[in-house]
Symmetry: C2
């Protein structure tokens, strides 16, 4: 995603920074990730205490030859004795809140389908799963950001029923400008 957005200079995450920050709370209460896994075998032993996995069967020619299958081999799949399962994408989202509705929502931080799995409906599957979860929980909004030059993504989101808000801008406080508030004297 950093490559796609021309933002590799902003990428500083490590396996340890992610592992120590991302999975400290039950699903849906804070940072939550849905993982998209693909296998040419039927899945077995799919289990999750908080979420019933969504399973789809797609035509075999939709599962592309994956040049990085070994790198993205699923560790969960290994537990189940199926070493043929590959991580193809993910969606990361967090609860948000709308005071206008007095109800929570979800903010989708990242949606990514690995390149060789694109244009096969997997992105829609991931985003729809978030929307379905929101409705199940009585949440009233799902929001995310898109780069304005990414016309394919905008078309895709609009086809899913989303509106692209033209009059809002994102403000971001990061880096030294943020750290300056660490011992603020305001």
């Amino acid at each position: 995603m950093a490559v796609f957005q021309n933002d590799t200079h902003l990428f500083t995450a490590t396996e340890s920074s992610i592992a120590s920050t991302l999975f400290n709370s039950p699903p849906f209460q804070s940072f939550t990730v849905f993982i998209l896994e693909v296998s040419s075998n039927p899945f077995k032993n799919i289990h999750s205490p908080a979420f019933l996995p969504i399973e789809r069967t797609v035509p075999v020619d939709l599962v592309a030859a994956d040049p990085e299958a070994e790198t993205f081999k699923s560790s969960v799949a290994n537990e189940d004795g199926d070493d043929n399962v590959t991580v193809a994408g993910f969606v990361l989202f967090v609860p948000s809140y709308t005071t206008f509705a007095g109800k929570p929502g979800f903010h989708v931080e990242d949606l990514l389908v690995r390149e060789c799995y694109r244009r096969k409906g997997f992105g829609k599957m991931l985003l729809s799963a978030v929307a379905e979860q929101a409705v199940k929980m009585g949440f009233k909004r799902v929001e995310w950001s898109v780069l304005e030059w990414n016309v394919n993504a905008i078309k895709f989101y609009e086809e899913m029923g989303a509106r692209v808000l033209t009059e809002w801008r994102v403000c971001r406080l990061t880096g030294d400008a943020l750290e300056a508030y660490g011992d603020a004297n305001y």
Copy 2:
């Protein structure tokens, strides 16, 4: 805020919808609110298990005559036997996540200072408190949205060190378009 944004038709929150959704988790783990209270008496018995309140003394002529002081009287203040404390504003924020940094951040959902308390530095105090909390927790980003025609707000945010991102757009899935995913067959 709904009035200011010409969005009163979108406002459906009630005291009960807010009370049942907003205060179900410890501060900073999910939806969190900092309340700005003003009093012409010194505060007494300020206490909070999770957050050390920030106290500021301002010149007495900065505390405006408040035509709605009775409506916005603080219930916390009443517990302390001071019925002269008024809620002047709030900031509502939630944890977010940046996969680029592999670190959490805060997303500021609402920042409001009641009209008769504006242009006195209280908005900066509220937003700075969120930024300070982010730094204390090792969070790497504070983000929020602004209406592009709200040039005063944009100037204020830039003076606080924020960048206004011009190439991102917010996508929003709400109402019937969202509810349609409730029994999705995707």
